[in-house]
Amino acid sequence: MNSEFPDPNEEFDLVHEEEYEILKEIEEFEKKKDTESGKIENSQEEQKRDKLNISRPNVYEELNAFTSNKYNKLCIPSTSKVIPSTNNDNCDTDVTKKRHYDELFGDISDMLDTNDLADIQEPKDKKPRWDEPQEIIKAVLDAREKFNEYSRGVSVNSKYIKDKRESISLRVPHWNFVALTRPRDAQRIYLRVKNDEQSKIKTNTHSISNLLSVPYSQLKTEAEEILITIVQNVKRASCETSHLPVTKTLEDDELWVDKYRPRSYIELLSDESVNRQLLHWIKLWDKTFAEKPFQELDSKGFPIQRIALLSGPPGLGKTTLAHLVAKHAGYNVVEINASDERSPDAFRQVLLASTQMKAVIGNDPRPNCLVLDEIDGAPTASIDLLLKFVQGKLIPKGKKDKTKTDKHVCHRPVICICNELYTPSLRALRVTAFIISVPEVSATKLADRLMEVSRKEKLKVNSDALLRLVEISGCDIRSCIGALQYMGGVNLGDNLSFALKDSRKGLFDSWKQILKIPVNRNGILPLSERVQLVLRTVQNGESEKLAQGIFHNYPEICSDKMNYVALCLKWFQFFDEILFLVGSLQTWSVMPYLNYAFVFWHLYFAKARNIKLSYPSIVYEMNQKHAKNIGILTTVQRNSGHNKIILTVDIAPFLPDLLSPQLRTVSGHLHSDKEKNDINRLVNVLIDFGLTFIQEKNFDERYDYKLDPNIFEIGIFPDCKYRRTLIYAVKQIIVQELEAERLRRVENAIKSMTKSAQNKKSITSESITNHNVTTNSATSDAKICNNATSKPNALEQSKKLQMETKDIKYKDFFGRTITVNQGEQKKLDKESIKSRNFLTKNSVWYKYKEGFSNAVRRNVKMKDLL
């Protein structure tokens, strides 16, 4: 290190060795003092401050001059000696200021190595640049700033609060200071100067990087450690003082809804039966973990319904219920709600993560229970995914291996929560899930709880006001407690409207409102109020659905008086007419009259007793079925050309009879002539109507032939008449015949085409009629039909046809092109036998290749099949 010193410095050292020794003594003396005062001073910092001295050389000098101390005597000569030399140096290096500056840092970095050396060199460094320009000051300030940041980063204040002693130092301190000499004993005292610029000064990273050589960082870490401990102490102290009030305010701000959330199963407000239902269901899962016999489990030991679906209006505590029950049963609740990403991909991840893994590291490795909150808002795709997953049909991505799919069966209970059970996206879920509808909390129970809350919060509320609040909020626990908290109970009675929820109600509520006579404490409400109430209920719109529901439910509710029912149904007619006017003619002006129908229904149907309503899902089912049947009719109509109404009313009812002749179940060639005729006729009818038999698997894994399109469904009504149905074997024969007949027709069509092409020279009107007849017979055969019918009829147009036939490449049943040999064509006669020849000669062949065995392979000619 020493070797790196610039030569002039070395010389300098040698010259002033004496003085150095004295300085050393001073240093040691000061060090002792430092340790005595218990001050923790970093030698590195110290050195930096030493440099700072440079910035205040005048003060230093002046002070020195005043003193007449023993120390001072030692000091003064040293400084006075040094001063001229620095001046000299300055003179030398005036031209290259920059270089000096660099050198300075070079020196510093070296000096930092050892304390002793630094101490020795200190004056030397000071002196040469003691009246040096601002840059140095700035550089040093930067460096200091950088250092200060460490302490300031933790807490600026703490630094200033520090011991008072830290503001005064006997040694050259690490902060901004003004050096003073105590006149009494000529002791140098360094006073802290508060640096206002501290915050403004930006750190100069360049200079820092220069400063931060290895030894510096080592020192710095030491410093840091010390500072950190100090700061921590300070922090701890401040925490002890400030923590308490903070938490206290937090507690005050906490929502009462959370504060008074039930903490245990017993505290639940909701109906006990509902709670038990859910608890029972979740307990069924225990089988997965413990060997207990349960009945409602499937073969794999899971509950048959793997998802529980809680439904009910908001604020009844569904989420709380799910969480508590799961906790009660010993599960770890994993919740996904509307705020989480619920796209199918994200959903899948969460599903797999939560149901198939469990916390291994945590201190309570309990199994997870997945709670899907607000599921009615999730996309349908996600719900489908959930269902698939639960049913074990979910094949993991990337893994096609089916043997591993078993792992992906749901092993954990899944509880879904929704508000509206009849959301379309939940349709599939409704079928499979175990549905628990959470009923409204009883008003008194809720009022009691509210009373308890207000007592705990030292609110003065009378129970009547609470009951009223409960009534208005519609037994919404959350809104009640919310209202209670923010109204402070002071003027609860006056500001009740505040607690009103959005008055929009579900369909069921509206239906109930219409079909139930409203009762208050004084008995049945007066008529005018009832009418008002109904009108208000209906105003929300959806009148069509409302009417549908009333229509669906009224026979269960209404009294036996048929003339009332008849009167009410007249209003349904009225309703329908108005709706039609609005819907098809856009006569919106009549729309308001719809609502009065509801009043009428209310007056005639409504009952005072509790009613059970059901959703008019039958309408949807019927629409589906109707659409399906219309689809069948349309296809048949397209094939047969019969009108839809004629089909339904006249033809379809007889088809089941016409298509089920008495046939013995023997192979085709054993049939009698009559039976053959029957089959023939049957096949022809089937082709005419474009019907086929399609092989399908039954529920009991047996094959059966189904008519397609199944026109029987339209013709046959339940419990009307016993009908003979064809047995499987007979149907098989028919299907074979059907295929053969199809082929035959194709062939005929081809023949008639080629024939007409051949007869180009001698076309008689008669032949055309013949031709027509043949093509006519084949109209039902789609492909050929198109070819045949596209031909024009008139004489002169047949020429055009001949042109066409040259271009057309005929395709046979299997899609191979048939090359028509002109020479052969001449030999062809009108008879079908000839046409068979034509077919067989033209490379139509059929290979029977069952079992891949050559033993049974033989060539079968088309001729044999027809």
């Binding site: 049947n629 339904t648 009812p653 029957d678």
Partner: protein
Amino acid sequence: MSLWVDKYRPTSLGKLDYHKEQAEYLKNMIQKGDFPHLLVYGPSGAGKKTRIMCIIRELYGCGIDRLRMETMTFETPSKKKLEITTISSNYHIEVNPSDVGIHDRVVVMDLVKTTAQTHQIDPSGQKEFKVVLLTNVDQLTKDAQHALRRTMEKYVATCRLILCANSTSRVLPAIRSRCLGIRVPAPSISDIKNILHLICKREGLTLPDELAKRLAETSGRNLRRAILMLEACKVEQYPFTANQNITEPDWQVYIRNTASMMVSEQSPKKLLAIRSRLYELLTHAIPCDLIFKGLLQECIKNCDLQLKIEIATVAAEYEHRMHKGSKSIFHLEAFVARFMAIYKKFIDSSLEGFV
């Protein structure tokens, strides 16, 4: 065409089996070369369509036998795609606009216009006009019928419309007056009997006269149904016997049973049971007026004359209202309830008379 109904359908005006006088008139009319638009009406199964096809064949010859079935697509102003099946030859096009429900106006406008606006290119074709055959005209919406009015006059040079309807009551008077109405009455019992015998003769079967009579009666003078019944009987049992079982359409039986339920008990519970049956009928695409008719006919059997009038009036009114609305179940059930109310009152009062 293997069903007897199709197989033995007369193909020319000369071969028609009944209403021969009318057939003669039609033949004369066509031979004169030109004729106005036609409105052929009559009950179903009377042979309207057969007659129309005969007329067209008489006009154009055998060319119309080469039929092709096409699906045409139309677009409503609201961009809804409609598909409709048409049966056409080079000379005529047959379409049932009511297939597309309330959008039939678009079909009528587009289809009739495009067909009518294209002139016959071939000068040697027998006639200068094409024929557009619209079936089930009585089921067209008012809109569609209005759209038809102007087209009928405008394109009279290039096309003739033949409208086919069950009854003229739901055809606009404006259209009725633009057409030559041809009524095709249902064949009489003896007509049907003759035809059934004829078919059996051609099929080489022997048909007892009593069975033929019974068939004709149960068919309700609907020839199509009579022939289908005959064929069903033949499949069921041959040789025929005079008192053999005749298959009736299921829906008729079903409606009859429903009506007897109405008579047997009058209560909201029964109404609920009947409703499900009505739904069943509706989903089988049975036209609602047929349901109305069937119910009324069955119910009335149990009523005295005074009641018959009342119920028939009610039924007429309710059916009319049904056509003004769109949800037929409301109207059907309203009728059922009304009948129950009336009938119950009647029964109660007559019981009081006894007491």
